[in-house]
Amino acid sequence: MRAWTDERMERFIGGLLRAGVLVSVALVFLGALVSLLRHGGERQNFELFRGEPEALRGMAGIVTGAFALRGRSLIQLGLLVLVATPVARVAFSVLAFFLEDDKIYVVVTLVVLAILLASLFGIRP
């Protein structure tokens, strides 16, 4: 029974992750295309470290820029989707362990999820 639930859930999560990666790659590709069409011939300097502007660091700024079809924001949105895929995997594992009534692992997985969310939503060490 346990093996069956584990396997089915994992299969589902595997499909979800693949879909997430596909969406992410599509957004990154689209953003790269837009950027290359607009700026492909310009010179770029990546030796000098400047740090990204505020609009490319937070979720709100990235989403706003992506809807305005800015290439950089579209890429960054795709990268956010990519980062979200392992987080979704952990979140679904909480559900899987809950359905199996495995209390220890509901707690273990919630701890991992909390660490991930704290990192993504800006609780800085």
Partner: protein, 279 residues
């Protein structure tokens, strides 16, 4: 160099890096970061941030394939992820406070370790029964994997030592933008005594979650540049998936020798340039 030329160069290099990383089991990061930093002179922080994202892409993209054969041990992965994610956030925070030259030196040392690791023989798959670890029993870490003659059960040992090593692996992942595959294999194969097949697929499961923890820190600090990350992700992912598909048909011994040689050269270059303050 124009933006288009740079994009294509980074893309092609990442494709090769992902391919080699998958074939040797070391992951694309160990090649992508030196390529960007040494050859294309990209700032090390951008290189590390982009590499972290490619690590996530490879892990999530390969997940569906690994799940099908039922080899990974989800409980071991989840329990150890407490250590790797905390370590990863620590490593990513450290990356902001130390000079990039020092990061390069640490990277060089880790590369040398990885080259050494890739040449060693795989450990014995199964050991006769020894007393089980009571922590492993309490946490239900013992598992089994499918084989020709039915499932093979195994016991997990030395849980605290494995947990500690995983925190270090997470820290290096956050600092250097790599999957830390070599160190994870040491922790799971050699210390916790998981069978090789279980440990490598479980490690793939963990790598994406670990990298996601540090990617949050990199994003907020402005170390994720879309123009560097885009060609890296678009290159490493197809490279790694092709490499994983070819893996069963390759003669890995020869390949490992070549790859260990390449990595050693990259390691020496990273050490030299880091120590002389050029990175």
């Amino acid at each position: 160099m124009t933006f288009l030329a740079m994009f294509l160069l980074v893309w092609a290099g990442s494709l090769v890096a992902g391919f080699l990383g998958a074939l040797t089991g070391l992951g694309g990061g160990v090649v992508v970061v030196p390529l960007l930093a040494l050859v294309l002179r990209v700032d090390l922080r951008y290189a590390v941030g982009a590499s972290l994202l490619s690590v996530i892409a490879t892990s999530s993209g390969a997940a569906a394939a690994y799940v099908r054969d039922g080899m990974s041990n989800i409980r071991v992965a989840m329990f150890l992820e407490i250590a790797t994610t905390l370590g990863a956030i620590g490593g990513a925070a450290l990356a902001a406070h130390v000079a990039t030259g020092l990061v390069a030196v640490v990277f060089g040392l880790v590369l040398l370790g990885a080259a050494f690791m890739s040449l060693r023989r795989p450990p014995d798959p199964h050991e006769p029964d020894r007393p089980a670890d009571p922590i492993a029993r309490a946490l239900k870490l013992d598992g089994s994997y499918p084989a020709k003659n039915g499932p093979v059960a195994y016991k997990v040992r030395h849980v605290p030592a494995g947990f500690g090593l995983m925190a270090v692996a997470g820290g290096l992942s956050g600092l250097l933008g790599i999957g830390s595959g070599a160190l994870k294999v040491i922790a799971m194969d050699d210390v916790m005594r998981l069978p090789f097949k279980a440990s490598s697929t479980t490690s793939n499961f963990m790598i994406g979650v670990t990298a996601a923890a540090s990617a949050g820190v990199y994003l907020a600090r402005g170390y994720l540049d879309p123009f560097i990350a885009a060609p890296v992700v678009l290159g490493v992912l197809p490279g790694a998936l092709t490499g994983a598909r070819l893996l069963p048909r390759m003669r890995s011994r020869v390949l490992r020798l070549i790859f260990a040689g390449v990595i050693t050269v990259l390691a020496i270059e990273m050490l030299y340039q880091g120590a002389t303050g050029r990175l």
